[in-house]
Each structure stands twice: as structure tokens, then as C-alpha cells.
């Protein structure tokens, strides 16, 4: 028989406000095995933990139940407390009487009643707990960063700085991501390329970092410390190690009319291309859908021109298999498609553009060499209308937009408006907004400068319709503050499109078994206390894949993710989860049902010798669980027809005891 101690936490008034904690402690005193029961304001505090430690020593407790907040919050804390007092940490059970009781029920009587039942269930379970010892597994001291934008770059640099090898997988031919496409950055107006490209060069020159550009993650197996990853290196038809990036092939390629992705299709690039001058790796890539040689077997000009002999039309996709200890997701964001926003005439007029397209138009390396022009006729626009929240903060239009605030649009629109007025003082600039949100260091000052110093006209209200008429764009809008309808003849309309997670994030989350929210942003292990870790051990989050964020925030999160990775890789061994399946060999009949459902292939069969009652021996085939591979899902326990397979920590008997305690 166990000697159980029950500790009921008040959590200040969080629990005690709706649950009579003293009554709970009193009621649980009479449960089987309970020899000690008490309540205290904050069980997780040092004083609270001391109460537990003292009680374990004083009453020789063999198991404890803490009635407190969610086990997802403080199970680890109380396990440590138990271990410090010499009790096996897995002899601790938590009754969740905060998140699942006091916070959701308003009435003291019902709250107390339910808390007592939850406590009884935990006591019933702990009575059947057995001490467990976690196994150990080695750590592969190499990290994988998925995504080569500023988030991935910063994470990789920080991890490499601590001396661990890092691989970056980037699906584009070059690293750099969205930041490489930007012109200036708010609120300091640094040139984006000037602060990003040195970092890209650092990555290229760092001995610890390998870049797999034009590559995608194909398959992820294994677990924290020991991930097995397959990376598909797409054929770029250019030998990466030989190409010098001279650009001769790009100049001579006859297939010149292909939309240039880097400039968002606003100009053309040849079939063989280098995305931009500072690309890393600076290696040409052949677009197989555009190249005449690859499509029809005619041409071959680039191969003849290439002095280094780097062109290889026979190159095939290559699969690289590598082991990693930790994986960082840095897949970033994309502006949403404007296809569904007919009211802004994005599809009808070339002069309605998105903010990212505006960014390319004002960039010296962009399609217009930095000259602000109308894409339709190349003339200078005299009246520019910026529309904010296009697809952000949409309630009614959730079909085409997003419910959340995209966070960065207010600031980049202020930047665009300010820079336009600075460079072309003859331009009239209007910004239509719902709210201007500028909570960041020096952000509000920046926005106010746009209004006060640069004379940008901010109008509270949404644009209802944009109609192309002649070479003008008729903008109909409402001014909410003066309650007037406005008609503006604009030359250029710039839409601050909402941002969404990159499309590659969803399949990646499935591969990593990392969870996502309803908008396909990765969820963090705890929104406040573990913001850069995914709930899946060994998977970390960096940048906008976790939620909209600007560059300073992305860089700080990237550093935080790197420090978590370093903390993991610095360990030689990881303690595993001891709550894994085990088979009772005497009951197992070797039917293979469990093996078939195991998602990890953790179950194998061994021939074992059994002594029979008549003293003969018999060899039988029985299941055997590999403790290093089993993750403890329990699928096998249900598949087992003889009941031989059970899960430690969540045993059949334990769960049935809980059911019994709940159902009276």
C-alpha cells in the first residue's frame, strides 16, 4: 500500500476563489492510501515546496498528489521537488483544479465538488504508480535550420558561434529571404541590404555552417537529439562547387522573358539566373520550365559560354540524409494573395501594387533602378494612396482575409510614405488606416515624423473601391473622423497586404509533428514562458513562422532559439521519457498486432525460452519494445488483444482507477 500525501494549492485566489481548498484537503484525507493532506497559498513557491519535502520525510510518503494548476505548467516543478526529497519523480500526480476547474466554473459548490473528484482520481492513480527511471540517449551535435531568411541566418550564426555545426535548408536558390527584397528598414531607415548582406557573407564563410540552397526538407524521423532528416537538393543544372557566379551565362541566355520572382514578376529574367547581385551562394540556377535546352534539347549556349564548365544539363534531384540533434523552423511569411480583393482593382490595373512590390520599385537594385514610377507607363506618380489592413483584421471577410493584425504594415507604410515625400516632395501621399499601431521602440516617433515633418496625409477610414479610369485610379473612401465621402484621383495605389505563414509550413509541421494554430502559425510550447520552443521536443521556432513580427523582433527571437538549441546540443546525453510501452512476456502471444500500429517501429520480436509447468522448456516469439525509440503514445496497448502490452505511467489499471474515481 502506498503512503500518499495530498497538497492542495490555493494559487492565491485563482483556485481558492472558486474552490474551498480546505474542504478539498479534508475530503481527500479519507481516500485509500492517503496519510497526509494539507493546503497552502502557493505550492510552487519555495515555502510550498518545502512543505512537500518535509511531509515526504516526516510521513514516509511513497506518492504525492498536488491539486494545483495544469500538469503542463508545474508537473516538472513538483517532480523535481519530489526527487529532491528522495522520492521517485514519477510518483507525483497532479490534479488540475485550476485550468480545468476553478477557472471554468463560477460557483463555489460545484467547483469544490469537482475539485474533490479530480483529487480522488489523482489519488486513485498515484496508488498504482510505480517508480520509473528514464533511459538515456545520445545527442547528435548538429543543428538544422529550415529557412534562410534573416531568422534562419541569425539562428545559424549564433549556433555556429557556440561551436556547433549547422545546416541551413533554403528552398530558394539563395539565402536572404524577404529582407533581401526590402529597400530600407524602419524605424532607423537603414538600408536593408547593407545590414543583411554582411550577415549572408558571414554565413557563407563560416566553417561550421553548410548551406543547402534550392533544397527542401523531404522527410523527418527520429526524436529530440536524434532526428533523421532527408533533404532534397533540387537539380539546379549548375555544379555549385565549380560555378564562380561570373554571370556570363545569365547575360547570354536567349530565353530572357521569364517573370523575375525576386522582383515579384515586375520585370523579366533569363532562364539561367542569379536572383540578385549579393546572392549567397552566388551560383547560377537554370529554371527547367524556361530553358530551351532542358525542354526541347536545343540551345546549350550557357554550357558553351561557361569558362568554368559548371553547366550540367543531366543533373538530377539529390537526396541527402543527415542526423541532427535539434531543428529550428524559420520558414517565415508571405503577403497574402490579392486575387480575391476585387474592390481594389489589383487584377485590373498595373498601378495597384502591394507594399512588397512598392519596396522593389524603390530599391536601387529593383526593376526601375530605384526610380519611383507607375508600372503601367513608367511615369512619375503625383498622387499615391496607401491602403492599410488589406486582408488584416478581417472579421466579415475571413474568407479572403485574416483575422489577426499583421503587425508590420503600419510601420512600413509610414516608412514608404515618408521616403516618398522625402525623395519626391511634389508627391501627394494619403494613408488610409483603421488604427495606426506603433508600439515599438522609436516607432511612434517615426510615425509622427511622417505626419508632422513630412506632411503625409493620414485619413482614418477604409477605401471602399478603386476604379481605373483613363490613366487615373479613382479611389472612393470614407473619412470617419469628418464623416465625409472622399474621391481621390490617384496615380498609384499601394496595398498593405496581410501576411501569412509560408505555404511550406503546413506540410513541414506534419513532418515534424509540431502543432500549428488555426492560421498555420507554429504554436509555441508556452505563449509566455517558452516562446521559442515548439511543444515537440527538439523543435524550435524562429521568426515570422510563429506569428507576424518585424526584423528586430525576429532577430531577438532567432537568438533566443539559438540559445535553446545550444543548451540542448551542449548536453552529451538526454534523459528520455520513461512513460513508454512494455510487454508482459508471459501474456504475449506474439501476434504482431502491436508491431503493425507502432508509428516508430519500436517493437520487434524475440524468441524467448519459457519454462513450462512440466519442467520442459518452450521457445515462444514475444514482443520487445526498444525503449530508446518508443515515444509512449500507447497505440500498441489498445491493439494488443491479450492485454500484454501496457504503458508505464498511463497503465490500463491506472486509467481505469481514474474512471472509477470519477464515476460514482
Amino acid at each position: 500500500m502506498q503512503r500518499v500525501g495530498v497538497f492542495v494549492c490555493w494559487c492565491g485566489s485563482n483556485i481558492a476563489g472558486t474552490v474551498d481548498v480546505a474542504a478539498v484537503a479534508e475530503a481527500l484525507k479519507n481516500e485509500p492510501g492517503v496519510v497526509f493532506s494539507t493546503d497552502y497559498q502557493y505550492m510552487c513557491s519555495q515555502a510550498g515546496q518545502d512543505i512537500i519535502k518535509n511531509a515526504i520525510a516526516e510521513h514516509n510518503l511513497t506518492g504525492i498528489v498536488v491539486c494545483s494548476c495544469s500538469p503542463r505548467m508545474h508537473e516538472a516543478t513538483f517532480r523535481k521537488t519530489a526527487a529532491a526529497a528522495g522520492l521517485n519523480p514519477y510518483m507525483v500526480e497532479i490534479a488540475n483544479i485550476r485550468e480545468q476547474c476553478s477557472w471554468v466554473h463560477k460557483d463555489m459548490l460545484t467547483g469544490t465538488e469537482k475539485a474533490i473528484i479530480l483529487g480522488k482520481a489523482a489519488v486513485a492513480k498515484v496508488n498504482l504508480n510505480t517508480p520509473l527511471t528514464p533511459g538515456e540517449s545520445p545527442v547528435t551535435k548538429r543543428a538544422l535550420v529550415i529557412g534562410g531568411g534573416i531568422a534562419g541566418i541569425q539562428t545559424a550564426l549564433d549556433i555556429a558561434d557556440a561551436g556547433f555545426p549547422v545546416d541551413i535548408v533554403e528552398k530558394q536558390p539563395t539565402i536572404g529571404g524577404k529582407m533581401a527584397q526590402l529597400d530600407k528598414t524602419f524605424p532607423t531607415l537603414d538600408c536593408a541590404a547593407c545590414i543583411l548582406t554582411p550577415k549572408m557573407v558571414d554565413v557563407a564563410q563560416n566553417e561550421k555552417i553548410r548551406i543547402f540552397s534550392y533544397s527542401e526538407v523531404e522527410e523527418v524521423g527520429g526524436f529530440v537529439g536524434n532526428f533523421d532528416v532527408k533533404i532534397k537538393k533540387k537539380a539546379r543544372f549548375v555544379k555549385e562547387d565549380i560555378c564562380t557566379g561570373c554571370g556570363a551565362c545569365v547575360e547570354k541566355c536567349p530565353m530572357k522573358k521569364n517573370p523575375n520572382e525576386f522582383n515579384l514578376g515586375m520585370d523579366n529574367r533569363p532562364a539561367i539566373y542569379i536572383p540578385f547581385a549579393q546572392a549567397v551562394p552566388k551560383v547560377a540556377t537554370i529554371d527547367p520550365n524556361a530553358c530551351n535546352m532542358l525542354k526541347n534539347g536545343k540551345c546549350g549556349l550557357c554550357a558553351r559560354i561557361c569558362a568554368a564548365g559548371a553547366i550540367d544539363y543531366t543533373q538530377k534531384d539529390e537526396i541527402i540524409e543527415e542526423k541532427y540533434g535539434a531543428i529550428v523552423v524559420a520558414t517565415g511569411f508571405n503577403p497574402i494573395s490579392m486575387e480575391k480583393f476585387d474592390e481594389f482593382a489589383y487584377n485590373q490595373s498595373k498601378d495597384v501594387i502591394t507594399s512588397l512590390e512598392f519596396e522593389r520599385l524603390t530599391n536601387a537594385a529593383g526593376p526601375s533602378a530605384g526610380k519611383l514610377i507607375r508600372p503601367s507607363d513608367g511615369k512619375h506618380p503625383h498622387t499615391i494612396v496607401f491602403v492599410q489592413c488589406v486582408g488584416s483584421r478581417c472579421d466579415a471577410c475571413a474568407e479572403k482575409g485574416k483575422e489577426y493584425c499583421s503587425k508590420i504594415c503600419c510601420m512600413y507604410t509610414a516608412k514608404h510614405a515618408m521616403l516618398t515625400r522625402d525623395k519626391y516632395p511634389d508627391t501627394e501621399v494619403y494613408v488610409f488606416y483603421i488604427d495606426v499601431r506603433t508600439p515599438g521602440k522609436n516607432f511612434d516617433e517615426f510615425y509622427r515624423r511622417a505626419v508632422e515633418e513630412f506632411g503625409v496625409k493620414y485619413i482614418k477610414g477604409m477605401v471602399g473601391k478603386v476604379t481605373p479610369e483613363g490613366d487615373k485610379l479613382k479611389v472612393q473612401a470614407s473619412d470617419l473622423l469628418s464623416n465625409k465621402q472622399l474621391h481621390i484621383d490617384a496615380d498609384l495605389v499601394v496595398l498593405a497586404a496581410a501576411i501569412e505563414p509560408d505555404k511550406s509550413a503546413r506540410p513541414l509541421a506534419t513532418m515534424l509533428t509540431a502543432s500549428m494554430d488555426t492560421n498555420d502559425f507554429f504554436t509555441e510550447a508556452h505563449p509566455k514562458l517558452r516562446p521559442v520552443e515548439s511543444p515537440t521536443a527538439g523543435v524550435f521556432l524562429s521568426g515570422a513562422c510563429q506569428g507576424p513580427k518585424d526584423i528586430p523582433e525576429t532577430v531577438s527571437q532567432a537568438g533566443a532559439a539559438a540559445s535553446k538549441v545550444i543548451g540542448l546540443l551542449a548536453k552529451d546525453k538526454l534523459t528520455g521519457n520513461p512513460c513508454i510501452a512494455s510487454s508482459n512476456e508471459l501474456m504475449c502471444n506474439g501476434c504482431s498486432s502491436c508491431e503493425r500500429v507502432c508509428p516508430y517501429g519500436a517493437i520487434t520480436y524475440v524468441d524467448k525460452e519459457f519454462r513450462m509447468p512440466d519442467r520442459t522448456t518452450k521457445i515462444r516469439r514475444v514482443a520487445s519494445v526498444n525503449p530508446a525509440v518508443c515515444q509512449g503514445c500507447g497505440a500498441c496497448t489498445v491493439a494488443c488483444p491479450s492485454g500484454a502490452m501496457d504503458l508505464k505511467g498511463f497503465a490500463n489499471s491506472q486509467i481505469i482507477a481514474e474512471v472509477d474515481a470519477i464515476c460514482k
Binding site: 485550468e99 469537482k114 509533428t513 508509428p599 503514445c633 486509467i655 464515476c663
Partner: protein, 144 residues
């Protein structure tokens, strides 16, 4: 005749990674649902043995709900698919035995869906309450 107020007893099995966290989020956001719902934490929805459900009904539960990660999002890659198939078979057999289909349910609730968790529990508790007490499978020998 005095009629005792009927309160249904609902056992909810929640997977540790999605639905249990969803229930925690419902708590964090103070989204209330009936106290008749009692949650049991399991590592994965596929850990729920049909025996547990039978046991709950024998012991007088009026409804059983199993919550797991959305299809494709299982922490253990495929556990919830097993749940879906096993429970489809079990629930139709229970229906045959006289435990109405409305008393049993499998629902996908992610860690981000606190509101969905509370709404599901409210709706399920109401449905079960409208069916009344479960007498069909109750084992009187189990009555304390």
C-alpha cells in the same frame, strides 16, 4: 413526487498534446463549461482503450468524449487515425447495445482551440443531458 435534479456525468479523455492543452487554454481564457465534464489525461487519443469507455458506462457515466489532435497533426504522427477507426467501430456496437450514438463522440481540438473545447463541451453536455440518465449498461454491482 420529488424529482432529483439530473446532472449528467461526462468523462472526457484528452490527449496530452492538443486537447488537454486546449482545455487548459479554455481555462486560461475563463471560458466556462459544465462541471459535469471530468477530464482524464492520456498521452494520445489512441491510448484510449475501449475497455475504459465500457468501464465508464458500467460505472454510470452518461456520456464519453474523446478529444485528440486534428487529423494529420497527431504528435505521434498517426495515433488519432487509430482512434477514429477504433471508436467508429466501438460506438456503433455501443449503439447496438443501447448506448445511443449521441452519448459517445470523438472530437478534434487543437492546443490553440480553447474556445472550441468549451463550445464542444457545452454542446455535448446539453445533448447528453437531453438523453437522460444512462441505465442501459450500468452495472448495478459496480454501484457503491
Amino acid at each position: 413526487m420529488q424529482v432529483k435534479e439530473y446532472k449528467p456525468l461526462i468523462v472526457a479523455f484528452c490527449c496530452n498534446w492538443c486537447s488537454y492543452a486546449g482545455a487548459d487554454l479554455a481555462g486560461n481564457n475563463r471560458l466556462s463549461y459544465p462541471a459535469d465534464v471530468k477530464i482524464i489525461r492520456v498521452p494520445c487519443s489512441c491510448r484510449v482503450n475501449p475497455m475504459f469507455i465500457l468501464r465508464a458506462f458500467q460505472r454510470g457515466a452518461d456520456g464519453v468524449i474523446i478529444c485528440g489532435c486534428h487529423p494529420g497533426d497527431c504528435h505521434y504522427t498517426s495515433g488519432n487515425y487509430y482512434t477514429r477507426r477504433r471508436m467508429a467501430a466501438l460506438f456503433s456496437m455501443l449503439d447496438f447495445l443501447g448506448i445511443e450514438k449521441e452519448r459517445t463522440r470523438v472530437e478534434w481540438v487543437s492546443a490553440a482551440e480553447g474556445a472550441k473545447f468549451a463550445a464542444t463541451m457545452n454542446e455535448f453536455a446539453e445533448t447528453v443531458a437531453s438523453l437522460g440518465e444512462n441505465k442501459r449498461l450500468e452495472d448495478l454491482r459496480c454501484k457503491r
